[in-house]
Symmetry: C2
């Protein structure tokens, strides 16, 4: 991403965007000579945010870029040594660190459910554990925004949604949010860095301050129309909406592109403004609404004469679920320190936080009608494809090299297709169970009692 790119074109080091304990674990594992044990880590969520029907995978390409930039430079090593986080042996190892393992994962735009193994990271314990915090940060935020965005675009139907929440979240998170929203069907963003870094269309015209700056609203509108053309969007609720609409139509000779409403009862105002525009002959002038929208408001505005939605706060904060609760767990490791020792499943037994050991494989079970039926997770071996199914884990990195590359548009299209496969319950805004059950199968293909099984509804 250009924003953070050094003149050489590489992302600056991401190595300190991590937790202290990742390094102390490696340090202690070097002492017990277990640091090199082959290990499998898995990134997944125990559950979806309360009442959600599905989640959306986003941040994959960002994560791969961040892994490649996970290198310890002299400044980082000096800091860690001075603070006694690491010793000189570990510093020496870190100075040569580069992830050399394999990564599989759900492609961007896919949907996920409780227990879905969004990422499977294989490498030595030391090299794979170091990535924990960074991968979780990226997935937890990007997927939260994409999951909220997908609900909004589903409710908006054919009407375009524009992402404009940059101001409501951390300045760098804002860029990722724009990307995640675009992936999930938003048409454009207000964020310029997202335009530069990811090629996402950017839009914007004017705020209330622009009108207030001028001696009259008419002068403000004139300046905007002259500069941005008649197809621009005029913000009409600074003073009196009716007067503003009349002024805008008059100045544009009925050719005004759109007006924007940013306050009040949007359904009622949109209806009034539509009637006024039509009476003035501006039948093609669109109505864009932008005041504190979320998926529920968008659904409620379905019958209102609205042509587009600008969404901010609720989008970049995940609409009530600002993080996804992803965790990154060791699920298998070499049985011993012997070379080529076989992997054995491992799991913790913490109350209410027990994990399921073993390397996972996953497929989406699809019926003959193409409708998704279940998220099927095989432990230790891939579940049997019954003919229509789609394997969900694709290779992302092989021996440290990135092997997954696709344009953002491809991920965006995937999301539309994958969402359309889900049962109709997926588009319910009411709180409920995940729209697919998660089935856990053992190596013999027997269904296990699963911590992720949908509760009976």
């Amino acid at each position: 991403m250009t924003l953070l790119t050094s003149p050489s074109g590489a992302l600056p080091s991401t190595a300190l965007l991590t937790d202290h304990y990742e390094l102390t674990m490696v340090r202690a594992a070097m002492r017990s000579k277990t640091a090199g044990r082959a290990s499998v880590f898995e990134l997944f969520a125990r559950r979806l945010p309360e009442g959600r029907r599905y989640g959306v995978v986003a941040g994959v390409a960002r994560a791969l870029e961040a892994i490649q930039a996970f290198r310890f430079d002299e400044s980082a090593l000096n800091f860690l040594l001075e603070e006694n986080v690491i010793d000189t042996d570990l510093a020496d190892w870190l100075s040569r660190y580069k992830f050399r393992g394999d990564v599989w994962g759900y492609p961007e735009g896919e949907v996920y459910f409780p227990g879905s193994p969004l990422l499977v990271v294989e490498g030595s314990f030391a090299e794979a554990v170091l990535l924990e915090t960074l991968l979780l940060s990226i997935y937890n935020y990007d997927c939260a925004v994409a999951s909220a965005a997908s609900r909004m675009t589903a409710m908006a139907g054919d009407r375009p949604c524009i992402e404009m929440g940059s101001r409501r979240t951390n300045e760098y998170a804002a860029v990722s949010a724009a990307r995640a929203a675009y992936l999930a069907g938003f048409q454009a963003t207000s964020n310029l860095e997202a335009g530069r870094s990811y090629g996402i269309p950017t839009t914007g015209t004017a705020a209330h301050s622009f009108t207030l700056l001028h001696d009259t609203e008419e002068e403000a509108f004139k300046a905007q129309l002259k500069t941005l053309g008649k197809s621009t969007t005029l913000l009409v609720d600074t003073y009196d909406i009716e007067e503003a609409v009349r002024t805008g139509v008059r100045l544009s000779k009925g050719k005004l592109g759109a007006i924007r409403l940013d306050s009040g009862d949007l359904a009622e105002l949109a209806t009034q403004v539509r009637a006024l525009l039509d009476s003035l002959g501006a039948t093609k002038t669109k109505i864009i609404v932008t005041s504190d929208l979320d998926e529920y408001q968008i659904a409620a505005l379905r019958s209102a004469p609205v042509d587009g939605y600008g969404v901010g706060t609720s989008l970049v904060t995940g609409s009530g679920a600002p993080t996804c609760g992803f965790i990154y767990k060791l699920v298998a490791r070499a049985e011993s320190d012997a070379k080529d020792a076989p992997l054995i499943p491992v799991a913790k037994r913490s109350p209410e936080k027990a994990t399921v050991g073993g390397r996972k494989y996953a497929l989406r079970r699809l019926g003959p009608d193409g409708r998704a039926q279940a998220e099927v997770i095989g432990i230790g071996t891939p579940p049997v494809d019954d003919g229509n199914d789609r394997p969900l884990l694709v290779p992302l990195m092989s021996k440290g090299k990135v092997v997954y590359r696709e344009p953002l548009e491809a991920a965006r299209e995937r999301h539309q297709q994958v969402r359309a496969e889900l049962p109709l319950s997926a588009s319910k805004m009411s709180k409920g169970e995940p729209s697919l059950p998660t089935l856990l199968l053992d190596e013999a293909g027997r269904t296990l009692e699963s911590p992720y099984l949908r509760r009976p509804s």
Copy 2:
């Protein structure tokens, strides 16, 4: 912040971390020749997050750094020209852009209330409006985290709180979150970049994966104790807690620093583990708890034998309020284009979103007992100090130069002092009204009917 610092030591350009419309407004204002009008913008919140008693100011030093780095380089200008966001006239102006105005603001660690003018930015319209999105991003996130953090440290009392939420938020937001939490009384962070960039103490020992990596829990504990010393914290809930505690005490010969509980009923487990530790003679071994804590859980654990709290998700997501709802509004501008034209107040009249025009001044009214009584905001002139009061706006930038610099520790101390001045209602966890009323005074000192007046409780 080192993370984003180029080899020359400067923050890379922040100029594209902004919304498209900031630039189109300047472009249109150049055409109407209003871009140079002296303007006053104000950053404030209409209300606190639902039920909150006060908010905490954070991000000030970050915002000042970001303003200084708000410069348009060739790459940014080329992108903006190619996308037709700007024209060549504006590109020319932007290539020389540097904020040359004045900024006042609440110092870091202060508390704020509805209507508090956290920032007052004076400059030409063009130079001041451009900063809108970036300033809002920084304040909306940093203050959200600091406000949540303050509630947690207030509930924790003398027991230390450790920030460990990096994995639950965007990877760069995580660094800012650690800073905001520290400001509001947290004692340390897990985030290494926050340690390097801001000198915040970092801590961490091991996760469950470290125990699972070893053939036995005992081997894992041995490795950790040898590497990090007996004062380390052992995570004891991977398998059986009692057995783990016994092993830890035995291996450390009763000198174990702490154990960590990360699951289950923490109050009950802490009581059992305390009794066990004491029975084993490990009376000085501390108990740290870390499972999905928030201010309510921390309050509920007051009577439990707990020695410290590690807080993640709820902290970095603002404990239910991941953004503060700050807005950045034009409140005054030059009356005309004449040189030295006087400033006149301006305000929009949008339904439910009306603003109060005029440059604001603010002080905290303190009683003779030193207890805070009100947030007093003067319009156009500073409210009269009745002897014990504290002016709240301090100069941050003067003619484009930063004039506010203080160590993070000073802001941290300020927060402790300022919070202690608040009425006792401020530390109530129940939902309620802001703990101080906001009084709006006109130039003659008369109290105005205020949109920010506390509702009668």
